[in-house]
């Protein structure tokens, strides 16, 4: 996997099974976020093969596969001038779900009181939690979380495990990029360590 002339991922052979929560760790620039974007079908691997939910590249980029994937990254993709509820209601409308389900998802991550606040007026942690609410709303079969604990206060941190557990309980797979192995260890089935775009260690959490 190359970005421009830089090789970002190389020789990576990873399988994530249904019902599994896998952690990915490693130093900055080791390719963790790129791996998530490849798994989210938002980046095309320059070499090798990619199979997601039983489909191979380029079929994995079809809308019916992508609808089963949720990526919650550093930027949760909110429009700053819409409220948290309006942002999530748009997601609900585009997914054929009711506006009420969007508000329920926000309530599930403790954002009921902030639902009508513009995203620009919300803290980083609240915006992060709204990303988790999107994951609850869309009920993905593949959930990809990029540093989900960042900006979350101690009270909100268990939400990450709760959301991952919900996906896992439905038979979905979860990949969590994290520097905070201690915080995530309780709900990870396996941990991969990347360095320089290569898998350098793999083991049980």
């Amino acid at each position: 996997m190359r970005i421009g002339r830089t090789r970002v991922l190389a020789g990576l052979d990873v399988t994530v099974a249904a019902g599994e929560v896998v952690g990915v760790t490693g130093p900055n620039g080791s390719g963790k976020s790129t791996l998530l974007r490849v798994l989210a079908t938002l980046r095309r691997p320059s070499r090798g093969s990619l199979d997601i939910l039983g489909r191979s590249w380029p079929d994995v980029s079809s809308p019916d596969v992508r609808r089963q994937i949720v990526l919650v990254g550093h930027d949760p993709g909110l429009h700053p001038d819409l409220t948290l509820a309006e942002n999530l209601e748009l997601v609900a409308a585009l997914s054929g779900l009711s506006p009420a389900s969007a508000r329920r998802a926000l309530a599930d991550v403790g954002l009921a009181a902030a639902a009508d606040r513009p995203a620009r007026a919300c803290s980083e942690g609240m915006r992060r939690r709204s990303g988790l609410a999107r994951a609850l709303l869309c009920r993905p079969r593949l959930l990809l979380l990029d540093e989900p604990h960042a900006s979350l206060d101690a009270a909100s941190r268990p939400l990450v495990a709760a959301v991952a557990d919900q996906v896992k309980a439905r038979g979905g797979a979860v990949v969590v990029v994290t520097h905070d192995l201690d915080g995530a260890a309780g709900h990870l089935d396996r941990v991969l360590r990347l360095e320089g775009g290569r898998l350098t260690a793999e083991g049980c959490a």
């Binding site: 989210a40 609808r67 930027d75 429009h79 001038d81 869309c138």
Partner: protein, 221 residues
Amino acid sequence: MNASLVRPLVRAELRAEFRAGEVVMTTIPFAASGLLVAAIAIGADTPLLRRVGPGMLWTIVLLFGSFVTLRRTVSGEPTRQEVLTLLGVDPVIQWVARAASSTVLLLGVIAVLVPVTVVIYDPPLTGLAAQAVAAVLVAVGLGALGTLAADLTASTRSRTSLVPLIVTPLTLPLVLAAVQVQEGAVYAASPWPWLLLAALTDVTIVLAGLLAARPLQEGAV
């Protein structure tokens, strides 16, 4: 491809714009000032002002309208676009929603600038139905072209200056048609050839946008 997804996207685009107020608070007052400054520069030559008024209006709409299409959109920013992509929203639907919301906003801009032009330049008010159709065709063409140009330049650093550079020459048939429809109304000439030119320009731009939407977005993957 589910066309019913356009509606919630356009609603969200317009809601975000009205709340941000970029067009209402910045573009429209700036464009109205442009009309006023141009009139002051021309001077107190009333017949000349009446003659050049429509041309000034469409020039100002063209210049400021391209910035309307560059506003921060619900579906245009990279991360939000990725969220929509993972929701299975076809790139063509995303493009149509952005072009449609730009068109609505441009119609709003034109609706405000027309009375401003009437007050400042006092142009002859004839053939209003044909001029209204011309205004809609200009808004559709400019909205679609600006959206397409914004997509083409999405990954460039000088996007804000590149888009007007791409849009301005390509909208000349629209501006020409709108001005000629107004001129034709004064001299009782048929507006149809000019409306047809504007409509053909719109169809060409919209087709180009629809065809380019998917390759442009998938090419970024």
